[in-house]
Amino acid sequence: MRDTTSAAPHTSATPLLQTVGLTKRYGSFLANDKIDLDVWPQQIHALLGENGAGKSTLVKAIYGLVQPSEGELRWEGQTMVLSGPSQARARGIGMVFQHFSLFDNLTVAENVALGLDGKESFKEMSARLEQVSRSYGLPLDPKREVWQLSVGERQRIEIVRALMQNPKFLILDEPTAVLTPQEADQLFVVLERLKSEGRAILYISHKLEEVKRLCDTATILRGGKKVSTCNPKAETAASLARMMVGTEIKEVKPAASREITVPRLVINDLNLDPDDAHGVHLKGISLELRGGEILGIAGVAGNGQDELFAALSGERLARDPGTIVIEGIAAGHLSISRRRKLGAAFVPEERLGHGTAPRMRLSENALLTGHAAGNMVQHGFVNTAATLNAVDRATETFDVRKAKRDPEAASLSGGNLQKFIVGREILRNPAVLVVSQPTWGVDAGAAAVIRQALLDLAAAGAAVLVTSQDLDELIEISDRIAVMFHGRLSASLPTASASREKLGLLMGGSSLETKEQAHAADT
């Protein structure tokens, strides 16, 4: 693969799929602006871009889910108009969605049947499902209901469902975002095989190393426009990132030296039952986090991270007060406000609805977490000037871009709102900051600002606990990394000695013995 021409080598005369000047408008907003894309058979074509660059809109148009405002689609050289996904499927276009389009309370076989066009009987379909899933090494039990399955298994359903249509063209929307590194490797084997069978794959991702490894061609979108089509193997991750963002991204720099001080957050053998049927039992979680330290918690989503956050923030109370100790005070039974008064601050994963009230102004949202400590409430009255002041400080320090001084939370873009939420908490000078998925769905520029802020906070002496599914992020900012699996937390590894392979194994739960040994070694 030493060919570095901009288009990958191909055998056929016409591209399998072309978009010609494809434009999609939502009101005055241009989601796609005259995009030309050629995808050839036997090619894995990457579609790169930041959130909001227009990738999803483009693939939705190719799959018939949205109608282009201008421009056209061509299939094997012929103009193609799709009025819905079933027409796309009939041509041989398959799609694996980022947010799985699965039905939790239906069985695997029923889910697959819904994605097909129902020309065969349910029994024939089930038989073919078993055969396809076996031949591609993607084992599935057709009779199980989806809610019982892991994220990796759910994705398998999506892929098998797409493969059962025997597609010529397969779209995958960020398929590895929720997978462990090992699961991702298994997926790549399947994709290589599909390619060798002569199919074309359009692969959306923002994991650049992965794209360099897997893809033959990459098309980069920025702000709804096509920036370039290139050979990713001839580019570096940094040059791809530059094309995606348009400017250089600031490197995140840890302080030269940080003083590790007293334990600020201690968890002693925390056990917690789930509060709903789909929840996870927290089992025997222990950790000690000192001032000046950043501890990263890795793990595939749904392994107890949400439950741990709820227990730490006080949204759910622990039975024994001593299981959670904040600044030396047993806090397991304390309310959220009492914990805030002890110097703790919390940033949940969900920005809208959990982190902020979407239809309330930023100043009101500042009050919602700031009322317990500080001067925002005096004698039971809201000090409006103080809340506005908090908004202004967060805006200035963290470069929050917004249309007016005090807009509704929902009107901000994801990255700017996240900067505001993180800023709101950091400006309260917390001794302990618990933050979940700090840069989930945030553009690279804002992510760098947020990561730098967390590093600076630790350098100022605070203890920071970061939960993230992005291993690269954790490796970049944390001092130690622990892994959550099935409600248990592994012993933490110093980041320097935590290889991706080791963490990946822990995330897949395959080395709980190692964890046990590590525990034994600790004590």
């Binding site: 018939g64 109608q67 939790d104 309370n105 239906l106 129902g118």
Partner: protein, 305 residues
């Protein structure tokens, strides 16, 4: 013997409107729409059903009028809750209030009139077998129709592709839309089916249960039907058990009062609701995971195009 037979017969008659209305509501809820307007659709169905039968002298035309009225009412709901994405609870409640008023208006001129009630099946000899003869082979047509409807709905939901798609819309409308299914259209049909069933259930009251129309004669049966779908945890089979259980409680309460048993009637009439609450608690305790209710129930869906 005579009394037992009479009680069983009256239980079946009291249960049939509940079963009919609840079957329709079950289909609507399985598609993800919570239509609290059952009571309103029933009472309009009762007024129009009686009117149709009184004017034409035909029970069948009366029943069809009731169904048609129920469908029209449900279309009003669908236009609001599906077309304009208005909150389903508010729309359903409004539909009930509207229906109660409308039925009084339509039915005003029928009050005091009488019709010949729906005939009961009679098979010579077979229907004359003591006890089971009249219970099994001597009912009016609606009783058999309601049971056939439950079987048909079960078959539709679990054996037909269209039923699978309908359940999928109720489980996750975003996914169903992403796969290319017309969620709102499917829900509209489900709501219309619910309306037809509620209208028929309402019409059953003046056509077979009591041969005259009085305003407000549904007397809360629509609400019991709603409770019944929850009680049955959205399973057609359990709906039959639930409907006959609720029907039995209603009838036994009357007999208990007649026999002078000193339990307040208000307590007895609250029993169906109490039973629903208890069943809900037991179900959620026994559940190991997954959700018994359609996951998208009552949520508004606006497709992006």
């Amino acid at each position: 013997m005579e009394l037992t037979e009479a009680i069983i017969l009256s239980v079946l008659a009291a249960s049939t409107p509940l079963l009919l209305a609840a079957t329709g509501e079950l289909v609507a809820e399985r598609s993800g729409v919570l239509n609290l307007g059952v009571e309103g659709m029933m009472i309009v169905g009762a007024a129009c059903g009686f009117g149709g039968a009184w004017l034409t002298g035909s029970i069948i035309i009366g029943a069809l009028c009731g169904m048609f009225a129920g469908v029209l009412m449900s279309l009003l709901f669908a236009a609001m809750a599906l077309g304009l994405a208005v909150n389903q609870v508010a729309t359903g409640l409004a539909l009930t209030i509207f229906g109660v008023g409308l039925s009084g208006l339509i039915g005003a001129r029928f009050v005091g009139e009488r019709i010949t009630p729906a005939p009961h099946l009679h098979i010579p000899y077979v229907s004359d077998i003591p006890l089971i003869g009249r219970v099994l082979f001597g009912e009016d047509g609606f009783v058999y129709l309601s049971l056939a409807l439950v079987v048909a709905v079960w078959w539709f939901l679990y054996r037909m592709r269209a039923g699978l798609i309908l359940r999928a819309c109720g489980d996750n409308h975003v996914s169903a839309h992403a796969l290319g299914y017309p969620v709102l259209k499917i829900r509209m049909y489900a709501v219309m089916f619910g309306g037809a069933c509620a209208g028929l259930a309402g019409a059953y009251l003046p056509l077979a249960y009591t041969p005259f129309f009085i305003p407000g004669m549904t007397a809360g049966r629509g609400w019991i039907a709603l409770a019944l779908t929850v009680f049955a945890s959205w399973l057609p089979g359990r709906l039959v058990i639930g409907a006959y259980l609720f029907g039995a409680v209603t009838i036994l309460q009357l007999h208990a009062q007649g026999a002078g048993i000193g339990i307040p009637s208000q307590f007895m009439s609250s029993l169906p609701y109490l039973a629903t609450v208890i069943v809900l608690v037991l179900l959620s305790r026994a559940r190991t995971g997954g959700s018994t209710a359609p996951a998208a129930l009552g949520t508004v869906f606006v497709p992006d195009r």
